[in-house]
Structure formats: C-alpha cells, structure tokens
Symmetry: C3
Subunit: 426 residues, 3 copies
C-alpha cells in the first residue's frame, strides 16, 4: 500500500515543471554535444581515477572526446554501484534509448554515436529542457561575466563571489574586477564601490542570487574600513598577506557582499564547508574535500546583522544537517537549500529531507538543485530527489500523520518549486 | 504484519501510566487556561517568527491572549508540516474535540472558545493528568524556590542550577542565594555551605534530581578552594571576571554540586550543548542554538571522579548521540536521558532510540521526558515517542531477533517508566 | 516481497566462504576452551560492569572460569537488549545447541558444561572454522612476535604498530624492538633500520598488512631525521618528552612505517579515533572511548604523500563515516574498512553500508571484519553484517535500481570477500 501511495505521489510530482535554482550551466553551450561532455563531468572522472584510471589518461592534452569516453568506460564496472553511475544510465536510457543494464566495452561506441547524432539535432537543447520539464535554470556566473548573448529569463544569472572573497590577493582577480567595473581599486572605498557596480550590473541583467562556497573554518564578521585599509594597501603593493590579514580582507569583502545583497534585495546562497585542493594530484574538480569540524555558529554574527537578507544555506557535511535544520527553524532569514555534493546521495538526502520537513517551516525549504554542468543531468538528479521526496511524503505525512494525498502533493510542490519562486522572486 | 505488530505493542505501551522525568511545569498553574498558554509555547512563537511574524506582534506588551492566538494562527499554514504543529493538533483533537485538519482563520475562534470553556472546568488539571496517564511530573525549580503550596508527591521538585554555575557573577543571583539559604556568602567555604543548604532544602521537600543545561564548550574539572578564593573575592568586590576566571568559578560551583549530589544521593541531569542568546532578536526562549563541535570527552574527569553519582545525560545535537551511547555503554554512572529539544523530532528520535536499545544496558536508559511547560503537551509528545518506540521494538526485537511480543513490551515499559522509578528513586 | 528477496540474497551470501581481514585471534589458542573465554570478551565484562557488576568481582585474581561466567550471568538480564548479547546467544545456539531465549541463573551451568565438552573435542578449532565458513583469518601481531608455531596461510600475520608509534618513549618498547631486530637503536637511522627489519621479518612470514589504531587528534606529517634526532637522543637518555616532542617522535615513526609499507607493498590499516584509558577504573579493555571532533583532513598530507600505499581506513565514530565515504570516493589509495567497535551495531552499520555502496567504487570497500578475540565470534558477527548487507542490496539495488538478484549478489560477494583478496593480495 505504501509503495502504491508513493507511486501516486511521485506521479504528481513528476508532472511539475521545474526551476533549477543552482547549476553550473554555460548558457552558451548548455546541452552536451558528445557523451564526453557528460562523462567528463568530474563525478565520473574523479571516480574513475579513484578506481585506478591514471590522471594522465583522463586529462591527456588534446585527447579526442570519443577516446576519453572509451577510457572512462574501462572503469565503469568498478563504479556500477554508485548513484552517480545510475544517473549516467538514466540519462542514456531517457535521452538515447539505451536499454542495456550497463555501459561496457561492447556497447559504448554505439551509444556514443547514437548520442552524438541525437545531440547534433538543432533543437537538442530545447528537447532536453522539455523532456526534463525545466522552465528556468539558475547559472553560476563569474563576477566579470558580461551576461550577454543568452536569454536571461531562461538562464538566470547568479553572482558567484568566491574569487572576490578568497582570491582578491591575486593580481588577476583585481585586474578582472577593475576591468569589469571600470573602477580603479585603490582603497576600501573604491573596492566597495567596484563591488557595488557588480550588483548593479547583475541585477540589471536579471540576477536572482549572490552565491559563494566557503571553507569549514570561515567565520564572517564585520570589518571596519579603517581596519582593512592597511591590509588592502599591502595587497595593492604586491605583498603576501599573513593568514590573519588575508582573513580580514576576506571578511571585509564578504560583509560588503552581504550589505549589497541587502541593498539590492538579493538572496545570498551560502555553500558551507569545502576545503579546496585537498587531493593535490586529483583530476580537475576532483580535488576538494572537507573537514566536518565546522558549525553554523560561525555565522551567528552574520545572521543577526542581516535580518533583511535571505540566506539559502547548503552544507557539505551530512553531520551539519541538524544544525541547518535548527538554524532555519529559529532564524527567519535562514533557509535550507538542497543537498550538496558529498551529501547528494539517496541515503543522506532521505535523512536530511525527512528532518527538514519535520522541523522547518515549509515555506523556508528549497528542496533541490541539480548543481549540473550540462543540461542532461537535471533529469536523473531531480528524478532521484523526487523519488525520495515522494517516499517521505507518503510515509511521514500520509501514513503517519493522516494527511490526504492532495495535501502531501501540495507540500511536495512547494518544496520542489513554489519556494524557489518566492525566495528567489523568479 | 509489521504494522499490526507495531500497533499491538503500541496498545500495550499506551496502557502504561507515566512518570514524566523532566518538565518546566509550574505546579501552581500546571494546566492551561486558554489556547494562548499552549500556542504561546516557544515552539510556536519561534516558528511563527521564523516564518515571518514580527516579534513585536508576538510579544506586544499587554496583548490579549485571544488576539495573540489569532496572530499566530495567521502563520500556522506555513508550519503545518512541522512535528510541533502535529502536537498542537493532537492536543486540540484529544482535549477539545477539534476535528478539522488544520487550525485556520475560519475555525480558530470557535476552537479558542471551546478550549477556554473546557479549561475553565474546576478539575481541568486532573482531567489532563488522567487522560494523559500521568502519575507524577518532575519540575524544574529555581534554586530559591520555596517548594511550598503544591503536592510534591505529584509534582516532584528538581534543583535547577544553571544560575548558580553560570550567573553567580551577577549580584542578583548572589542575593537570591543568600536570601534562600540565610547565608552570607563571603568566601568559598560559605559559598559551598550555601549550596549545601539548597540540597538540604530540596531533598527535604522530595527533590529527586539536580539538573543543569551546559554550553558546548564547558568542561568540568575540580577546582581547589584556594584557587577559587581570589576569583570569588574579585566577584564579591563587584569586579568583572575574565573568561578564564569566570570558568574557574563555574567549575568550582559545578564540582560542588556534583559533590552534594553524591552526599545527598541525587542523580545529576546534564543537558549538554546549548548556546544561549545566539539569535539576539529572537522571541522569548527562541534565541538559543548550538555548536555541534562538542564531545563527552569534556566530561571525562567528572565521570571518573563521581562513580557514586548517576548522570542522566541529554545531548542537544543528534551527532552527539553515538558518543552518549558509547559513554553509557562503558561508564556505569552514565545514563541516556530522552531526546532533547532540537533532537526531539521523529527522524532523530528513531535513530537515537534504535542505537540506544542496541548497545546500552536496558536498565540505563530513560526513554523520554516531555520538557513541557503546560500539562497538555505530555499527551502528544509521549504519544510521538511511544509510536516510535513501538516501531523499533517490533522491527528490531520481535522481527529481527525473534523476541516474543510480551518480552518486547516489557522492554518498552522499562524504557518508558521502570527506569525512571529506579534511577530517580521515585 | 522485499523480505523474501532479502532472504534469497542472504542465502547466497551465507554460502560464501570468508576471509576475515582483521581479528585479535591468538593462533596458538584460536578457539575457546570454556564459556569464560567467550563471556570474558570485553564486550561482556564492560557491559556487565556498566550494568553494576563490580570490577573486583570480574577481575578477581585467580578467579575460576566457571565462577566468572556465573557472575557475569547475574547481569545478563540487564543487557539482554544489546546486540552484543544477541551474538552470545547466537554462538550458544549455533555451536552448543542452546535453545532457551536467554542465559539465566537456571540454565547457565548446563550450558557451561555442554560448551566445555564440545570445546574439548580435539578438532574444535576446525569445527568452528568450518561451521563459520572461515578460510583465512588475519591476526594482530605485536611487532616482536616471532610468527612461529602456526600455519601462516590460515592465520595471516599483520604487523600491529601502536607500540612503536605511541610507546617508543617507554624503555620496554625500545628493548623489545632491539631484541626483536638485533639492532642497537641509537639514532634515527638505526631506528629506521630496526623498523625495516620488522617489515622484512613480517613479510617473509606472510604478513598482508601493517595496522595501527590512532587517537582522534593525531595528524601524521613528514618529520626530517635531523628534526627527530635530538628528540630521540633525549628519549634514549631517559628524559620525559614534552607533548610536542612526543608527537614529533610519533610522527617520525609513523611516517617511516608508511615508507616501509610502500617499499614492501603492504596495505596500511588505519583505525582512527580512539582515546585510550578514558574510564580509568573500567575493566580490562573496557576503558577506551572517543572524541568525535576529529577529521580525515588530518590525514591529508599522508594520503597525498603515499599514492602507492593502500590505506584501508576504519573510523570509530559514526559521524566520521561520511568523510570516509568522501575520501574513498576521491583518493585512489583510501579504502573503506568494516564497521569498528562503537560503530559496530546494526543501526550504524546499515547507514554506513548504504552510503558506502551508493558512493564509493565497489572495488574499494572491505565490507566487514570481525575484530574477534576468539574464533566463535565470526559466526554471529558476520551473520549480523550479512543480514544488513542483504537488506541493503535488496532495497537499494534490486528494488530501487532494478538490478537483477544475481548482480546484487555479486556485489555482495565482492564486498564480503573479493575485495579482501585483491586489496590484501591474499
């Protein structure tokens, strides 16, 4: 009975047209052109590498896309158990009519060619959007992205700010900032002004969020201009900063971003907990890990200081989920946001989804985002989430609390889409 | 089959008369007089605030109770998914014959009036106790509570000591202590003596526990009188203490409490992990959160030093549960105690209950306490716990281990009540 | 349907002959001779002690084995709910024909005598191995174990190195090292050389792993010989080291072990997270606990420095499991290894097993080891794990992903045995 109930709820959720509130889509090349675009996703290269495929074979300069796929296929058997490979199979089944149970040495070439032919169809991007029931897709734009040449009502800009907060010590970052804003950054005031120009530019072009990923030990705090001034002067002279001074500068920029989020009414997506380049010899984008010893208490000053800014928060560690639930339960401006990266597998999602639905106001939960680099991934990733959500709605709400199916479905739709509309005003 | 089995076990557990081993009941006004007493519980005000109701509307001075309920009702829809609101509905259904699926703008006034009429019945308190199958209710008494004017065999005193340990730096606390004990606190010896008087007073009046809530970074250790003497002298002079000195004083008082628990044979309830006033603009009692970076290793010296004192331990963070299970498995004097606050939702309770039943001696587990402020909450809260407990007993013991239903029910009764009797000697 | 499916998969897994990749078996007395060998396992003595049996009664010098069992039996009722006692019952049922539901004052003596008679049979060890379907059993050998007098193709040596890393400050340890290696340890070079001799000796005698358990705050790093030289000189003079110097020495030895693991192609089992002697008055081996505030980020330098060494990693805290999953997902040389100690109960195993199977390459997971001290424990412990594994395979792979039963069973066999063969080259 529970299974049939879950299936009926799932059917309703599957009928819903989606807005994907966080992706890494390149709007100028949103869909894939070969299977290498899909299997080149770091989830596959890093797992193949982890299972023994040498980095040199994966990242050989000038490597032909088909050859690259062939090499990764040699390791797929070792990964067949992973959720990530189940996404790959679902993509191939849904879009390319693949019906074998796995991608092997024997069938991959035919699959590659079928996929390439399909992807060459002139309306492929539209086909994917339509089959995936995607109405709008949030982007992750570099701060100096001109935001031109694409439909910003379909691909919604989002100001990504990691470089500004953590790499302003690099001359390239400062040059990019100066060029993008036609501002000469000489002190705290002109830095703030340059940052303000970015918000002006992004919001004028339909941006609906500011976003950043943060290391586990980052703790934002307000820095006075007078405090940052000598640090900034030192950077501009080309000095190497001490860790303390670098943190002061990061905090100043971060706090300025929060102030502009308030001024421009932008939600500020915080993706908390990633350590970059932990595995130095890992493949591209397959080098980052985390330290679970972090806490949202580090954001206490921020959440108190900006009641008018909504913070959709993602946590990398599953052990941070209860804090997120509790902070969203108490702070009006903290919202739970999706299931990020190492927490984006069914067993963690189910626990996290369940606890959020049991304790956080229903209006303060963004259920899921795909985090995808290519459009084809929305289908299996949202598919995975919808199946879990349908199960939780069936068990916890219909069966345990006696809710009607209709009411449970409405809660699911709010979680999947309604809250994206209200929270990001899209 | 599993469902029917669970229902049969649940039926047996529901027949059990309870002792609630931790509440915040005011014995002079134990039951509610209007729905505002129930919906004024911080679980509702803080969630309504989190969902957008301004604090000023919730805490307006002189606000009429009915008007307050009406305001909170405007946000209930946004909270309908929460376990907390499911408790509210269960209260209204069980006690006031409410049979709509939610409390809305259209039905709340009738409900308010029905509830008020019911609560005005002269034996309302007895009705609630009886319908909730409550035989005894532990209190949380300020250290200077005279403990008079109520039946201490029904409402069992418990010496709450947060103020002594963490607020002795405040002149009001010291004045309250001196007044309550008719002692002049001038040095460590007289401070200890005053604390001893409290234990004398409380145990003479039937107290069955000493209790305290503790921040995540607190680590009790023995402090010699000679070490605390200058610190105490400084406090008595009205100086502001350094953090280190304040911690020394806290540890001295805390250790003294443990010594008196040994002397007076009182269990010492430790509720570990809360940071106070994290959300400074939150509503009353809706400002506290936590830092999951804590460990029971901080209590190593304490647990070793007082083998004769039983420590029923509650942890705020679900990520602390495995430590609690392990420490209770090893230390004879550590007992698992309920599911506290941010861990008191079904998905966390189920995991925690399961692991405790799988690894901690059955005699060392206090299954649940309500933590309630008004009597009406015992019914839905214990109801929630009993349903989870019945499910775990059915699945893990009857189905997986082949236990008889009778044996599983006995384990459940020990967990729900038997251990409260033996551990708190009540 | 799910239940029958699980049973069919379980049947297949139960037919598999096992290699147990981590135990504390004494190969000269692998099986038990009385029930006291089984109930003297620290899991029972510590739980009985935790439930109130005085340490003096458990560890009375010269205590008769039967009397010891009788004393522990007095507390078994208080422990009947624990997984540990379910192992005990399964042992008695499977090996001694016991068919009561619990071991009590009334039946224990008959059971003791039956067991003693059975264990006295000349081929008892072979019976246990055969009934438990055990083909090979890894040991935990002291570094100065001569490794003679037993069949090293059945009982596979493993070089345990805790003493070298953490107790080289003790003169006994250094004397044992010098004696075992016929080396005079006078400086860093001779220390390294002595350690090298151990690897020579162990690998010559069929060792298949180096292993160590590590406290939660240990963070290995490369130490230059020139840095350790004065520290070592100080130790050799008999000085007491500062905590910093002791850590330097520990890191030097640890790093040398990793270098020899590379040289001798031995996997290096890391068992991360235990604090020793936390409960000072606990029974033998029942004194250790943990601090969950640890992270695999502490092993960042190690995992990067030794790509050619395989690190099968066990974590003591269940809250460390997601890090382990993520590090094994990214680092080619990190492998998940079993479910250790306080994490070795069904509710934690199920969550951990599920997440590993969903996100770590299938070839990089050692499903389970028994950690046993006596052979009889493999049967119930692997039995527990197989039941959980069968459930996860049935639910997550056959039902949710549509895998065939055969394919799920193959995944299970790889997890239970195949990976042990390839990872440990056995």
């Amino acid at each position: 009975m529970s299974d049939q109930l879950t299936q009926r709820i799932l059917g309703e959720l599957e009928a819903l047209v989606l807005i994907d509130p966080h992706t890494h889509i390149n709007p100028h090349a949103a869909a894939s052109t070969t299977l290498a675009d899909i299997m080149g996703y770091h989830y596959y290269t890093e797992l193949a590498h982890s299972a023994g495929l040498p980095k040199e074979q994966i990242e050989e300069p000038g490597l032909d896309p088909k050859e690259k796929v062939g090499r990764i296929v040699t390791r797929l058997d070792a990964l067949e158990n992973t959720t990530q490979v189940s996404w790959l199979l679902e993509i191939c089944q849904a879009f390319f009519g693949f019906d074998d149970i796995s991608i092997t040495a024997d069938n991959w070439e035919a699959l590659y060619d079928t996929a390439a032919a399909k992807m060459a169809e002139p309306d492929w991007e539209q086909q994917v959007l339509s089959q995936s029931k995607l109405e709008k897709v949030f982007l992750t734009n570099d701060f100096d992205d001109p935001l031109t040449g694409f439909d910003t009502s379909l691909y919604i800009p989002c100001l990504r700010t990691d470089d500004l907060v953590f790499h302003l010590t690099k001359v390239e970052t400062r040059e990019r900032l100066e060029k993008a804003t036609s501002t000469s950054v000489t002190n705290a005031a002109s830095l703030r002004s340059a940052i303000g120009s970015l918000f002006e530019h992004f919001t004028k072009n339909g941006a609906r969020a500011c976003a950043i990923s943060l290391p586990p030990d980052f703790s934002p705090r307000k820095i006075e201009e007078s405090t940052v001034e000598p640090v900034l002067a030192s950077v501009l002279r080309g000095d190497t900063l001490s860790a303390t001074d670098a943190d002061t500068l990061s905090c100043f920029v971060f706090w300025s971003l929060a102030e502009f989020c308030a001024e421009y009414s932008l939600p500020f997506d915080l993706m908390i907990g990633v350590n970059r380049r932990v595995y130095e010899d890992g493949v591209f984008q397959g080098q980052d890990l985390f330290d679970k010893r972090t806490s949202l208490i580090l954001y206490r000053q921020l959440f108190n200081a900006f009641p008018q800014v909504t913070f959709p928060v993602s946590v990398l560690g599953q052990t941070s989920n209860q804090e997120l639930v509790s902070y969203a339960w108490i702070f009006p401006n903290v919202v739970t946001n999706g299931h990020w990266w190492y927490s984006n597998i069914p067993t963690f999602i189910e626990q996290d989804c369940r606890s959020r639905l049991q304790a956080v106001p229903k209006t303060k939960q963004v259920g899921y985002y795909s985090d995808m680099y290519k459009l084809e991934f929305a289908l299996p990733k949202f598919g995975m989430y919808r199946r879990i959500l349908a199960k939780v709605l069936a068990e916890d709400f219909v069966m345990n609390l006696g809710w009607s199916e209709e009411r449970a479905v409405e809660l699911g739709k709010l979680n999947l889409r309604g809250n994206v509309e209200t929270i990001f005003k899209v």
